[in-house]
Symmetry: C2
Subunit: 200 residues, 2 copies
DNA sequence: TCAACGAGACGAACCGTCTCGTATTGAAAT
DNA sequence: ATTTCAATACGAGACGGTTCGTCTCGTTGA
């Protein structure tokens, strides 16, 4: 068993080439055949890698997928903040419309469904996703709402987590249910939720 | 292949005993070992049934699970309407609190996660769920909101589907994410969404 | 020097199909 | 009404195929 924490005295290190090939193969494969037919052997074959190399570094298919997503979102180092034009409603509509468009993008739909399905039935994977993706993203969303509170666009004492949940949850759910994710829906969602938050 | 549409001239009919045993076994098993380790062979063994009897009547594990849920919700013929005390906010808080309690019930948590995961990666299962469970339930929810509109508690022209989505989506999503489903959350959710709907 | 690597052999589990012999049913014959 | 009979589902499990996760091999490379 490899000791990752301590640098080995001699011997080969983990191959970055193989790691990237595995993540890319997993992402491509799941997009082609779906999660049900995604196999470790298939990933290894497509990546040109021995099965053991996958079993050595990842505990499950789900974590491989999660890493594949992290690799995707880390490569183009997007700005870690939501737009802030001063107009919360306009900014949120922009972001939610973009999110909706991304969700229905055929390149991401199947892989995201696979990851979501894996998380539903694997608490440890859910915890790792929570720590490595969900929490940072939520912090960014909370920060934008918090700035709106500071600017007086929302009442002081606004529940930031509630606000984030109300804004994004219906989008995710419609995507899962296969419902229509239109810009009109995103707009109505933002308008209604913000009206509710302002009225508190 | 059995012809279900036309009555056969002779021969045995589908065994209701086996059908019930299979659905019960599937529900119990998935609650014990989770979806990843749920196998047709395991269901057949626990139900005291041949594998072919399952393959003959169901196209996939997911549909077996869906039928198991339908059998559960059809047995106690609950009233097909949400409570209507005249106070929409109070009624919704009651319903959402009950839903939250049901979601965290350890008897239902794993089976529901399994079904949700199966639907995420199987569009045909999703369509069948949509038709047999989601649409009837949504109609009941829409009807309650519609009565509130008629009673003048919500403005005319209120988007019923948007209202239902805003009210229930955050609950589902928190459950999926493993977040806390408290009565306080349900209450704040109802209060904020209704405030937003009233302000339109 | 020594651990990670690609490759693949290995037994176990489960897949979905099939083939038994048995049990149950409705229709036809008595 | 009772018996006979053909058709079909049933429980059981054999079957080849696929994937699992583990385990060796030599080879490569830091």
């Amino acid at each position: 068993m490899p000791d990752v924490t301590r640098a080995a005295r001699g011997g080969a290190r983990r191959s970055e080439t193989s790691r990237r090939a595995i993540l890319a193969a997993a992402f491509e494969l799941v997009g082609e055949v779906g999660y049900a037919r995604l196999t470790i052997e298939g990933i290894a074959a497509r990546a040109g890698v021995g099965k053991q190399t996958i079993y050595r570094w990842w505990p499950s298919k789900g974590v491989v997928l999660l890493d594949a997503f992290l690799a995707l979102s880390e490569d183009p180092q997007g700005d870690p903040a939501l737009p802030d034009s001063g107009d919360l409603e306009a900014d949120l509509k922009l972001v939610l419309r973009a999110t909706a468009a991304e969700l229905v993008d055929p390149r991401y739909d199947l892989p995201m469904r696979a990851l979501a399905a894996a998380m539903l039935t694997d608490p440890s994977l859910r915890a790792e996703y929570e720590q490595r993706l969900e929490q940072p993203l939520r912090a960014v969303k909370r920060a934008r709402v918090e700035r709106a509170v500071a600017a007086g666009q929302l009442p002081p004492g606004t529940d930031l987590d509630l606000a984030v949940d109300l804004l994004w949850s219906p989008l995710w759910r419609r995507w899962q249910d296969g419902g229509e994710l239109t810009a009109a829906f995103a707009d109505a969602l933002v308008e209604t939720v913000l009206a509710g938050l302002r009225a508190r």
